[in-house]
């Protein structure tokens, strides 16, 4: 099983990503942020569908992706601009899954690796 997750940092900015092992990925986020970071939603299913959904998010939410400009180059992150909260992203993803028949299901909510 492959996963697509929503991540939220301590300032309320939300992001997204895909991983085979979401437990390990959450540990990485926490290790780098120096804080416990939650995955508000983790979806599981086919790897190809998780990857396709991630591509769709990057394309359709192009204007809502947080972009950092450095040395005349734009660096697109996998975080959304401020003001787009977890509710917005979850609702957008759930809508896509339903309307486009994407084979992904919510497998866990409000996850962090300290949980059993």
């Amino acid at each position: 099983m492959y996963h697509l997750y929503i991540v939220e940092n301590s300032k309320g900015r939300v992001g997204f990503g895909i991983a085979k092992d979401y437990v390990e990925r959450n540990q990485f986020y926490c290790g780098h942020a120096g804080d416990i970071l939650k995955f508000p939603v983790v979806y599981g299913g086919l790897r190809s569908h998780a990857k396709a959904l991630e591509k769709t998010i990057k394309n359709e939410l192009y204007d809502d992706i947080w972009t950092i400009e450095k040395e005349n180059k734009d660096w697109k992150t996998e975080w959304l601009v401020k003001g787009k909260n977890r509710k917005f992203l979850e609702s957008y993803i759930n809508d896509l899954i339903e309307k486009r028949h994407i084979k992904l299901k919510i497998i866990i909510r409000d996850y962090d690796f300290t949980q059993e």
Binding site: S48, H49, Y62
Partner: protein, 400 residues
């Protein structure tokens, strides 16, 4: 273009056909220098280095605008390009520039070279299929490769590309990959794994033929029954075994379920109104407008900061000069310019396209001893010399 026409035109502009092409004067832009290094560098810059090249999209846009806005249908190639764009637009598919902000919208595509290589029929089938089944996504170039190969091989084999096959292929792409974009990525991954197993080299030589072959082999594996030309199935069959195992497991239980396409609710495509090829901007801006846009940017501010930090100055004495120079007085340094391409010269002079109004100013250096050495434009200069030589009263019999 006849001799009489040229003579008439020259008389209209108070010019006469030169008895000797060497005396015909052309516009030259030059820098006074003896530096061959400057000339060599100038040749590189004038021929691409550091220049923003014209994109395939820009060429397509110009062709379409000539036909649509200017109503000029004298060039067959432009008419053909416009016709293909119209077919695509009719199926809500839209060519765009690579970095366009509109690429987030469905039906958009950027691979103009592949689009141009397709026939009208291939464009019609590919874009109609895209609009019917994947109307919510931009077009991946794999779709063009897929349909180019499908249409050609089915026609070559005198077989019918059935609606059922087209729907089942859409179903397979939807259920396994959510569309062509992810299929293309998964296909390349599978092909890479297959290559690694069979060859010692790590360098995978991707072939665009694998798009159609991979999909049709998967179609057969998932129980597809429609007839397919054997030429399309001759491509390495076992490479599909290298797709993700969680996908292939589906073929073991109810494989036909994977061929069923599930409808996706259609939303109005914003591109129908935004399509830049359907409406001219009717916008004319001044240099001041452009400059005002430029100086606000961070990139420009950084560059100007560098000027200040390096005490860089605009040296007015380096500005090029322009004058009329006789063709016979221009020399070409063979170590700087390329060999003359005679076929290219003949194309430039083709009466279907030739127009003196399109002649570019020759670029030269003027050395201390008064010689003009061309750094760019030898083909233009040679063509003009050739035309006058071939048409002049003095030499035309000789040419005949």
């Amino acid at each position: 273009m006849s001799v009489k026409n040229i003579e008439e035109q020259l008389q209209d502009t108070n010019l006469t056909l030169p008895e000797d092409w060497k005396n015909f004067e052309v516009q030259c832009q030059y820098i006074e220098t003896d530096s061959r290094a400057f000339a060599r560098r100038a040749f590189s810059y004038l021929n691409g280095k550091g220049k923003k090249p014209q994109s395939k999209y820009h060429l397509l846009r110009n062709a379409v605008n000539i036909v649509r806005m200017d109503k000029d249908t004298s060039d067959e190639e432009e008419v053909s390009m416009e016709r293909k764009v119209a077919i695509a637009e009719n199926n809500e598919c839209f060519p765009l520039e690579e970095n366009s902000q509109l690429l987030k919208y469905p039906g958009t595509f950027t691979n103009i070279a592949t689009f141009n290589s397709m026939t009208d029929e291939e464009v019609e089938i590919a874009t109609k299929w895209q609009n019917q089944y994947f109307h919510y996504e931009p077009i991946h170039v794999g779709t063009f490769f897929l349909f180019r190969d499908l249409v050609r091989e089915f026609e070559g084999s005198k077989m019918i590309l059935s609606d059922k096959l087209l729907e089942e292929l859409a179903g397979l792409l939807q259920t396994l990959f959510q569309g062509m974009k992810q299929y293309a990525e998964s296909c390349k991954e599978a092909y890479g794994r297959w290559h690694k197993k069979h060859y010692t080299s790590d360098k995978v030589k991707w072939s665009d033929d694998a798009y159609v072959a991979g999909l049709l082999h998967l179609y057969k594996k998932f129980g597809g029954k429609e007839s397919i030309p054997s030429t399309l199935l001759g491509y390495v069959e076992d490479f599909i075994e290298f797709f993700d195992s969680d996908l292939l497991e589906g073929a073991e239980n109810n494989p036909e379920e994977f061929l069923k396409y599930e409808e996706v609710v259609r939303k109005p495509n914003p591109m129908v109104k935004l399509n830049p090829l359907q409406r001219s901007s009717n916008k004319v801006v001044s240099i001041e407008d452009r400059m005002n846009g430029l100086i606000k940017t961070k990139a420009w501010k950084n560059t100007m900061k560098n000027w200040k930090e390096q005490n860089f100055e605009f040296d007015m004495s380096r500005m090029p000069k322009v004058s009329m120079v006789k063709l016979g007085d221009i020399e070409i340094d063979c170590d700087i310019q390329r060999d003359l391409d005679e076929k290219h010269c003949s194309k430039i002079a083709d009466p279907k396209r030739f127009d003196p109004a399109l002649m570019q100013v020759l670029q030269c250096i003027k050395t201390e001893d008064g010689k003009f050495i061309s750094t760019d434009g030898q083909h233009t200069a040679t063509v003009i010399a050739g035309i006058f030589y071939s048409l002049s009263q003095k030499t035309k019999l000789e040419v005949k």
